[in-house]
């Protein structure tokens, strides 16, 4: 183990870790927005909303994220979509994780007892009012942890954007391997940064979960 080498180059990894964090957080935000929209659409009684939402989930969960990313980044220019690596990484990962988050959110909404909807509707509230004020506040509590699991999977999975040359952790590890020939040290170093990011993120999810669970 070449600790002197690690001591010298870790700041470059720290910079790359920041890129990993940026890509991941932006993709998670995009995923949450898409996931919420698709979850509500897939629960709608309108087939024009429901079917596209179901198709989105099937396609993006049913094909490799790597292929989706390549399709966007390498195939995109052919149909007039020209994105830089960073943008393509965020959008590709975000759309992919959104499909998983859709199922998590949908599951949480469906897990709220049917009696809650009945009670709300019996008071004369409309479908949308019941969803907003009765169902979603309860579903939100149940979705924090599973969405956290989705998000953590995304943070680790963000390594695939190294293949479209986003200068994040995995890419940086590869780059230093080719100049130092020390793959063991480089991958250990990258792993430490991933672990640190995931640990901090998990802690954040746990705090949010405790907070929303507090009152009731």
């Amino acid at each position: 183990m070449d600790f002197a080498l690690i001591g010298r180059i870790w700041p470059f990894f720290a910079e790359a870790a920041w890129v990993t964090i940026e890509v991941s957080m932006l993709a998670i935000i995009l995923g949450l927005i898409l996931g919420f929209a698709a979850a509500l659409a897939s629960l709608s009684r309108n087939v024009l909303l429901r079917w596209p939402a179901r198709a989105y989930v099937s396609v993006f969960r049913g094909t490799p994220a790597l292929i989706q990313l390549f399709l966007l980044y390498f195939g995109g220019p052919q149909i007039g979509i020209n994105l830089g690596p960073f943008e393509a990484g965020v959008i590709g990962l975000g759309i992919n994780i959104g499909a998983y988050m859709c199922e998590t959110i949908r599951g949480a909404i469906l897990s709220v007892d049917k009696g809650q909807t009945e009670a709300g509707r019996c008071l004369g509230l409309g479908q949308a009012q019941v969803m907003r004020r009765v169902i979603l506040p309860q579903a939100a509590r149940m979705m924090v942890r599973p969405l956290g699991v989705n998000a953590i999977a995304l943070i680790k999975g963000s390594a695939i954007v190294s293949t479209i040359s986003v200068l994040e952790l995995s890419y940086t590890a590869h780059r230093y391997i080719s100049s130092t020939y020390k793959p063991f040290e480089m991958f250990i170093l990258a792993s430490i940064f991933y672990l640190a990011i995931v640990t901090v993120f998990s802690f954040g999810v746990k705090k949010i979960d405790e907070r929303v669970a507090l009152e009731s």
Binding site: E118, G124, L125, R133, R141
Partner: protein, 252 residues
């Protein structure tokens, strides 16, 4: 005599191939207290739930306050129509269905506030009065998880009353309660009955039905077998099915 507040004609309800209501007719006048009794599966809860359209009906008519409840309407119009009707029909459930993320008082104020009936100060004042009426003036800030079953059910009654309904539906509201908590809920319902609220009560508690109702309907297999004032149905039943049902229940 005025038009009955609830009028049901030829009501049938199928769940798939199973017919649970086989032609019900019923007239309920303003201020009347109806008790629906019968064995599990007799259709009494389903009947109650068709009145505010928690269950759609297969055939027949339900009228409430001069309006046909089960009108054939396009979806949006039907929703608006039902929302308007349901604001005047309170319902209390076996499993309370209180909103667990809201305090007792927020449960009571939510619908009147969301529907723009009152402003916040009025809603809170009204909710306090209602909680006081059901004997829970000191529990307004409690979340449902901190209340007993009987307290939850009394909050649920207050929540329904906050919309000033013209009719209250009670669906086995004491069936899920520990025996020692039944009395407090029954007392609240009795007080409501004495204020001339129109009430339809689905219950297994026959003593309470006899005590509070002025008309009893005994159902079996989706049909009304016998009906009349409680003194007659309970003390001098005419039909064999009524007799055997009462015998079974009272011998337990």
């Amino acid at each position: 005599m005025n038009e009955p507040i609830v009028k049901i004609r030829g009501l049938k309800k199928n769940f798939g191939s199973l017919q649970v209501l086989k032609g019900i007719d019923m007239d309920i006048d303003q201020g009347q207290i109806f008790a629906l009794i019968g064995a599990s599966g007799s259709g009494k809860s389903t009947l109650l739930r068709t009145i505010n359209q928690l269950e759609e009906v297969t055939e027949g008519e339900i009228w409430f306050d001069g309006e046909l409840v089960n009108q054939k309407l396009p979806h949006r119009q039907r929703e608006a129509h039902l929302n308007r009707l349901r604001q005047n029909i309170g319902m209390v459930f076996q499993h309370f269905n209180l909103f667990p993320h809201l305090t007792a008082i927020e449960n009571v104020t939510m619908a009147p506030l969301m529907l723009g009936r009152v402003n916040k100060a009025e809603a809170i004042e009204q909710a306090k009065k209602l909680l006081d009426k059901v004997g829970l003036s000191d529990r307004g800030d409690y979340y449902p998880s901190k209340l007993s079953g009987g307290q939850k059910q009394r909050v649920a009654i207050a929540r329904s009353l906050a919309m000033n309904p013209k009719l209250m539906l009670f669906d086995e509201v004491t069936s899920a309660l520990d025996p020692e908590l039944v009395g407090e809920v029954n007392r609240v319902m009795k007080a409501l009955a004495e204020e001339d609220m129109t009430m339809i009560i689905v219950t297994h508690d026959l003593r309470f039905a006899e005590d509070v109702s002025d008309h009893v309907i005994f159902m079996a297999d989706g049909l009304v077998v016998e009906e009349g004032p409680p003194s007659l149905v309970f003390r001098a039943p005419q039909e064999d099915r009524t007799k055997s049902f009462l015998q079974q229940v009272f011998n337990d």
